[in-house]
């Protein structure tokens, strides 16, 4: 379904806000299901999704264990020598936090298929201050830059014949600590250069700027937003009645 990016941002924001408000596993599971359905509806590429879910499963196990061991509440389901290793509260807490993460990630992924320029324009149209939007845009550019910088550094080390996998752990830490400072310095310098280039091109010299890309909301967007409003209302009402 081709919706305007603003509609997608509002849908993502609403689902995320609901996941923040409610912590009951059935509610979060429902939100999770809705987000997954939306992913398919918007035909979002979900390449990284499976791997993320595997990590979240391990996080779930760890959370259950931590909650069961350190918080003495709920019925003990499994324990060794008087120490509770699995409790009903631990299970529920772990499930709640994990489902919340799944909702955040799934809802966030709705925006992954969108073009970055569209996202920026949409945020401006949604009345977000341009300076903040610009910071978000630069931030989005900086993540791959940071990754590339670290990859270059590690490759440069290897090209000098140093195999970090075969070196003592103590020495490896020393190498990593050694490269940390220059890498951070390099990134800081890039940020400084970027700021200078922005100034040189007249950033914020005039109060407004023009946008090449025009965003238009169609009938389907208004229908989707009306559907979202109805769903949210029904959801909040049902939660108030049944929880």
């Amino acid at each position: 379904m081709a919706l305007d990016i603003r509609t997608k941002i509002i849908i993502t924001g609403t689902i995320t806000a609901m996941a923040l408000v409610y912590r009951e596993p059935p509610v979060l599971a429902l939100l999770c299901l809705i987000s997954i359905l939306l992913l398919f509806l918007f035909r979002t590429p979900v390449i990284l999704y499976r791997r993320t879910l595997i990590y979240l499963f391990f996080m779930y196990i760890a959370l259950i264990a931590l909650q069961s061991v350190f918080v003495r509440s709920g019925t003990v389901l499994f324990g060794v020598g008087g120490i509770a290793l699995l409790t009903t509260d631990g299970l529920m807490y772990g499930m709640s936090v994990t489902l919340r993460f799944v909702v955040f990630i799934t809802a966030g992924m709705i925006l992954i298929g969108c073009k970055r320029t569209e996202l920026i324009t949409a945020l401006v149209k949604l009345r977000m201050p341009y300076e903040i939007v610009m910071m978000i845009q630069i931030g989005m550019r900086f993540v791959p830059l940071l990754t590339a910088e670290l990859q270059d550094t590690l490759r440069a080390i290897q090209l000098r014949g140093v195999d970090l996998r075969k070196v003592y752990k103590k020495k490896v830490i020393k190498v990593y600590l050694g490269i940390f400072l220059p890498t951070v310095y390099m990134i800081w310098r890039k940020a400084e250069k970027m700021a200078l280039l922005l100034e040189l091109r007249g950033f914020r010299k005039y109060p407004d700027r023009t946008y090449y890309r025009k965003l238009t909301m169609g009938r389907q967007d208004y229908a989707a937003l009306a559907g979202l409003a109805l769903f949210s209302g029904a959801f909040i009402y049902a939660a108030a009645v049944f929880l």
Binding site: L159, R160, D163
Partner: protein, 221 residues
């Protein structure tokens, strides 16, 4: 035994339709002095990266000392072949010029005194001794280029692949570099130089390989 053997090598960058390297076959013996020339985008740097194992050929074979490049790890290739990128900034990861030059030597088990001695000799030869405590990123482009080259030269690998080594160098430094490379070659080390600097290539190289649109169009002396 040949040092490098490339047979029918082809490579296409992800997301591109045109091949960056097309059916390149080359035989490179021990200790050769080779210049790899061609216009921008002709595939010279890509070929160098394929030879270093930084990129993997999708077609044909790149062999280093009789074995496929893919069978070596990057550090194993790095200890045989010194590669100097055309962008020296991506080669630095130390906080001073002296540390940058000494890094590889120290990891090869040389003593502190020996490392210091070698680094000092190279830095003095190229007029960089006064800059030894400066951060490599803060040097001029020409000085960065030299530090990147020296950081590899001190390791004395069997082969050197230099991507545009004279790009930012002044005439004096070019002369010094030429002299040093001649000395390196006299010690039986091989050098492959990617360059647009016709004069430098004429004075240095024994064998000249010319590339065009990803193909080798000329190979001779």
């Amino acid at each position: 035994m040949l040092f490098y053997e490339l047979s029918d090598v082809g490579f296409t960058y992800p997301g591109r339709k045109e091949q960056a390297i097309r059916n390149v076959s080359l035989q490179i013996g021990q200790g050769e002095k080779i210049a790899l020339t061609g216009l921008n985008g002709s595939g010279k740097s890509t070929l160098a990266k394929l030879m270093m194992g930084i990129l993997r050929a999708q077609q044909g074979a790149v062999n280093l000392e009789g074995k496929p490049v893919g069978s070596y790890t990057l550090p194993q290739i790095g200890s045989r072949v010194g590669y100097i990128s055309q962008n020296p900034n991506i080669m630095f990861f130390n906080t001073s010029v002296l540390e940058e030059i000494s890094f590889g030597l120290r990891w090869r088990g040389k003593s502190r005194a020996e490392t210091g001695e070698i680094a000092k000799r190279y830095l003095r030869n190229f007029g960089l001794w006064e800059e030894r405590e400066r951060m490599p990123f803060n040097l001029s482009e020409g000085q960065k280029q030299l530090v990147a080259i020296l950081s590899m030269l001190v390791l004395e690998p069997a082969y050197l692949i230099l991507d545009e080594p004279t790009k930012s160098l002044d005439t004096l430094r070019k002369k010094q570099l030429l002299k040093t490379l001649e000395e390196v070659a006299q010690r039986g080390k091989g050098i492959i130089m990617i360059s647009h600097d016709r004069e430098f290539v004429q004075r240095f190289a024994g064998r000249k390989i010319r590339m065009k649109n990803g193909e080798v169009v000329a190979d001779g002396t």
